[in-house]
């Protein structure tokens, strides 16, 4: 089966620094792919290029065979890519359900309508999306007063609004408490599994990565140094070296999580 996303020789330099250097990988349908690496490895640069925030210096990004490298974020979204942000981005002056309705209005190209009342549009659809992320009982709440974990869940519902084929999640659990992290990622994995959406995510929390990713890629100094299954990565000496400076911390963390 041909991959959903196919990245070839993606590079980006800032002056003399090669932030992302000749990165290539594929993402299959329904796959949950993690991109990890130490701070400054080039994860964010890589992500920003996939999402259209940043133009690549060279290389291609093919979504279902169509090159999307250098496209504007909104065009990439229209092609069926959803995203969530490292620091949540929601509309603070709207209610929770209106945040989701906004995405639906955009999807149905109703943005310039003047004659309808926005708060009634696509409301049921929005509520059912909120239901999938467990936020339906907070639908009428003011977005500005939500707890951070709830904002993350709301963002997920928003990202699912246009039935994406691919979801890009930049540190989906950043800034959350450990227990919440696992719960949110479990929820994400379940939803995506049910909908058959492919996911690429970056993450610093190894518990989350090792317990949910189907496959892991490791980026260091802009280059992909490893790409394989969870076990392969965990036992890859090169990864352990660059990521942790040796040691067996992964196993220790793993035990901790199950404790």
């Amino acid at each position: 089966m041909s991959p959903i996303l196919s990245v070839r020789n993606l590079s980006r330099s800032f002056g003399a620094i090669k932030a992302v250097d000749d990165v290539s990988f594929d993402l299959a349908k329904g796959e949950l792919l993690a991109l990890i690496g130490p701070n400054g490895a080039g994860k964010s640069t890589c992500f920003n290029m996939l999402m259209g925030q940043l133009k690549p210096s060279s290389g291609t990004v093919q979504l279902l065979g169509k090159n999307i490298a250098g496209m504007q974020p909104r065009k990439i979204w229209r092609m069926g890519v959803g995203r969530t942000f490292q620091i949540t981005a929601t509309y603070a002056s709207m209610t929770v359900v209106e945040n989701v309705q906004m995405a639906l209005m955009s999807f149905h190209r109703k943005l310039y309508s003047l004659t309808t009342f926005a708060h009634t549009l696509y409301r049921d659809e929005a509520l059912s999306l909120l239901d999938t992320v467990g936020m339906v009982d907070q639908a009428e709440r003011h977005c500005a007063v939500l707890a951070y974990g709830d904002l993350k869940r709301l963002e997920l519902a928003v990202a699912l609004a246009h039935d994406p084929i691919l979801l890009l999640m930049d540190e989906p659990t950043a800034g959350m408490a450990p227990r919440e992290r696992i719960a949110l990622m479990q929820l994400t994995a379940d939803i995506l599994d049910a909908k058959g959406v492919s996911v690429l995510f970056t993450e610093h929390d190894m518990d989350v990565v090792f317990s949910h990713a189907h496959r892991i890629m490791v980026l260091n100094r802009g280059q992909l140094i490893a790409n394989g299954s969870v076990d392969e990565i965990r036992n890859n000496p090169q990864v352990q070296e660059v990521y942790l400076g040796g040691g067996t911390l992964f196993n220790a963390v793993q035990e901790d999580a199950h404790a």
Partner: protein, 620 residues
Amino acid sequence: MGLFIAQILTGLANAGALFMVASGLSLIFGVTRVVNFAHGSFYMLGAYVGYSLMQVLPGMVGFWGAILLAGIIVGLIGVIVEICVLRPVYSAPELFQLVATFGVILVIQDLVLMIWGPQDLLGPRAPGLKGVIRIMGEPVPQYDIALIVITPFVAFALWYLITKTRVGTLVRAATQDREMVSALGVNQAWLFTGVFFLGCALAGLGGALQLPKGGADLLMDFTILGSVFVVVVIGGMGSLPGAYLAAVIISVLNVFGVTYAPQSTLVLMFVVMVVVLMFRPFGLLGKEEVAGEHGQVGEPERPIKPAGNRIRLLVAAGLVILGLLPLYSGNFAVVLVTDILIFCLFAASLHFMLGQGGLVSFGHAAFFGGGAYAAALFVTYADTPMELALVLAPICAGLAAIIIGWVCLRSTGVYFAMLTLAFGQLLWSLAFQWGDVTGGDDGLVNIWPSDWASDNSVYYYIAFFLCTGGILLLRQAAHAPFGYAMRAARDSARQAEAMGINTKRVQLVAFTFAGIMAGLAGGLFVFSKGSIFPNELETARSFDALIVVFLGGVKTLSGGWVGAAFFEGIKDYLTRFEYWRLALGLSIIIVVILGPEGIVGSLRKAGERFGLLKVPEDAK
């Protein structure tokens, strides 16, 4: 050749005062994030204070001493303003500080009028520098040469202060991240006050220095403000070398403009600015201003809901009462309410793009005055009947808004605001200087309604239907998907773009829509007055709208028209007093400090406290 050099020298000399005022503004903005509208007023104060000091201090030492002293005194006045007016509102949304500084403008205007009287003052000439020297046969005033020499020294001293001293390091650090600076133990309050002193002293110095060239008058605050904004925008906000460069460019250009194209001096300045910004959206030497995602300070705006049946009934009843006005009241009330309605539509259009879209325009009068001029020009030159002119006015204003919006929306935040101000000034200078067509200062007169509508009551109905219709349409737009898209673009442009919303296009459409409505108000205005003068395009007119929007309440849906109705209503009463500006200015400052939620917001608060309105669950 001689003339050419002489002109360059004059331009360089004029650049001095402009640079000082602009660098002060830039400095204050960099550190405190306050766009100090009162900066022109401090410049004016510098001129007046300097003039008085020169009367008492004799000789050469007295003259230069007076200039220095004027700078220091104005700086101290700035300190008082900073402590009394700005300190209480630093935590309020940035735009409130703007409104507060506008209150300061009004207060200073009337205080200067009180102390120095209405007549223009002729500046004394500098002792020892009264003559001219001849350069290639052309006379150049000695004082100009002195200014050309002094300015780089001031610029250098400033540059040294900012880049080489500890104070300068603090100032630069605060420009980048003021929370961090205060977390590191720097007394932020006094740093702000110190910078305010320096900025205002520079403005005062500039005002005193130009005395021998231009004297002192009561209009110089707004006159310089436009040029200063242009200089700061062209040079790049926060860049001293940029401010100097831009001041020289603008001043030299002005001198040449006066010689070769006297009809277009003012226009020229803005054209240069637009061209510069097309290629460098953040000025020649400026860096991008990051407005920050946490641009919303203070209480977050509440979600909106269309009015329930009870409110709708209330509005309908109000409209009926208003609609029957000509039946139960006299001519005076009918004319007054016509004015109020027109101003309400104008303010509501600004409120729409400012409140829903977060687009702060300092030049909204361009569309109000633009629509009015369009209608007046059609009537004057093409004998267009009123009915058609009232259609053409909003169309022309809308077309202008598309062009102006397209250019301005390339920038964001304070650059956007300054660009709109500059375009407002551009249209004003067009109307003012293109006398052959627009009548210049004499305006266009005899623009009366068609015969059937010439009666005040009939015209009242026209204004009533178009204005209330416009306001209701704006309100409907706020509740429609389009209004939501505007808020999405404002709340988080990042998320909006990531969900397929073309934020720039949404904003351009909003800008145009607001322009159309302002143009309609302008068209109605010109037929109700029978004439139009350039002052309807003035920056002061834009500020009128801005102020009523803020005082009415930005974060409410009705703030625009309520504020407008209230202020247009009391203005009639207030302007009977001699020093009404002082009173208005003080009340603006007090409202900003005490009731930053505006009239509607405060009423809502009060209503909730006394149980008349239901408090939303999340607002408790």
